[in-house]
């Protein structure tokens, strides 16, 4: 396997595997938020703000994987 192929493969694996956890996490977050809103629709404003905040922090982990794969593709090693 030459270097270019290895980097392409690594980049794909990095974001592919790195997106699994945050995907599950964001699903759980939205599940909880929707259940909370369903139980008490009056709090939807507060729940929504906190949900977006939580989603942003969860998404940050996928972003680290994205950074790694972007570096693998675009930055010369």
């Amino acid at each position: 396997m030459d270097l270019l192929a290895a980097r392409a493969l690594g980049a794909g694996l990095a974001i592919g595997l790195g997106a699994i956890g945050p995907g599950i996490g964001i699903g759980l977050l939205v599940l909880g938020a929707l259940q909370a809103i369903g139980r008490n629709p009056d709090t939807s404003g507060t729940v929504l703000v906190n949900m977006i905040l939580g989603v942003a922090f969860t998404e940050a982990i996928a972003i680290y994987a994205l950074v790694v794969s972007l570096i693998l593709i675009f930055v010369g090693i």
């Binding site: 404003g45 703000v49 942003a56 972003i63 994205l66």
Partner: protein
């Protein structure tokens, strides 16, 4: 209700009209017909020549200038309205939309930050409008697809033979997707090449292996833009923290008072040190969240326009409208929340936050 219906119809019309046109221009003509070329995916911004002055600037910087001009125009219109002492709600679609968005943001700031919301709101609204206009600007038909015909600067960009198209009085060049050409990268000739290729668009001399460097490119597809926004935002968060708490703000990071509490205090001190790392990771996640989402959207439309060039890209175009707005909201909201967290002291944060949330 009627307002919402108008907006939905307007968005639908934009998607139906601009979506296919954007896809058409992206694929360099009628898709898989002779003009269709592979998309250019380049993370660094491309350089375009500066008119009249010479030299080069990046196309994202050029787009930023246009967006700045647009936003200043918007501010000017609003100021003219306000100077006249008008307190009536603004008329027209544009005024109504800006007012609606600003009102929603102001309510949001009030809900999250309470008393402090009024002082935080201007920054949050600025960030929101800047990012929103920046994200939507790249969706205009012609953005990221009309540009200079020149030899690609990077090795991994495909190059094609140029093709002249004449439509009545109009004549322009596009790339011929069926004729990929190998680029010979020679460093010695690089200077001479850029000089001749600058004139290529005017028809004096044409390159043999070309691709198109767009004039306008989405600002958030450039890490320089998103990183600058993230740095400014996080610097302002610290500034807000110092302004509202003075030097006590530092206790959040270097928790010396906790050390006097014995063994448990040591753990609190270490947690304070971790806060420093989390501040820096916020810069990274701010910058790369925006970059990743918008850059991925650009690539998505590129690829879809090449696969199925006619109707399908309109759907993804609608998705990109949505993503652009959501990312602007997320950036503004996170800035708001971080500033709010910085203004609340270490001690009173646990009491104040739920109380304010309950009022919201």
């Amino acid at each position: 209700m009627r307002k919402a219906l108008t907006i939905i119809i307007a968005v639908g019309a934009v998607v139906a009209l601009c979506g296919p046109l954007t896809g058409f221009l992206y694929s360099g003509g009628l898709g898989k017909s002779p003009y269709g070329a592979l998309p250019v995916v380049s993370l660094p911004a491309e350089a375009i020549p500066i008119p009249w002055f010479g030299g080069k600037m990046s196309n994202t910087f050029f787009t930023t200038l246009i967006i700045d001009a647009l936003l200043l125009l918007l501010v000017g219109l609003g100021l003219r309205h306000a100077r006249r002492g008008d307190v009536r709600p603004p008329k027209g679609v544009l005024g109504g939309m800006v007012e609606m968005i600003a009102e929603a943001l102001a309510n949001f700031a009030d809900n999250v930050a309470g008393q402090r919301g009024k002082s935080i709101f201007p920054l949050v609204a600025t960030l929101f409008f800047f990012i929103l206009v920046g994200n939507w600007f790249k969706l205009l038909p012609g953005a990221e697809s009309i540009g200079i015909l020149e030899k690609p600067h990077l090795a991994n960009i495909p190059a094609y033979a140029p093709r002249l198209i004449e439509l009545g009085p109009l004549s322009f060049y596009t790339v011929d997707g069926t004729h990929p050409v190998e680029v010979e990268h020679s460093d010695g000739e690089a200077q001479a090449d850029t000089a001749t290729e600058a004139h290529a668009a005017e028809g004096e001399g044409i390159c043999t292996a070309c691709n198109i460097t767009p004039f306008i490119r989405g600002v958030a597809t450039d890490l320089n833009f998103t990183l600058a926004l993230a740095l400014v935002t996080m610097a302002l968060v610290q500034a807000w923290g110092f302004r509202s708490q003075g030097l006590r703000y530092l206790v959040k990071f270097i928790n010396l008072p906790a050390l006097s509490k014995g063994p448990i205090g040591v753990i609190e001190f270490a947690a304070g040190l971790l806060e420093i790392i989390s501040e820096f990771s916020r810069i990274i996640s701010f910058a790369f969240r925006l970059l990743g989402n918008i850059f991925a959207g650009t690539v998505l439309i590129f690829v879809m326009s090449n696969l199925i060039p006619f109707i399908l890209p309109a759907g993804f175009y609608g998705l990109e409208l949505f993503v652009g707005a959501i990312q602007a909201v997320v950036f503004a909201l996170l800035a708001l929340v971080f500033i709010n967290m910085a203004t609340q002291g270490h001690g009173d944060s646990s009491h104040a936050a739920p109380g304010e949330a309950a009022h919201a």
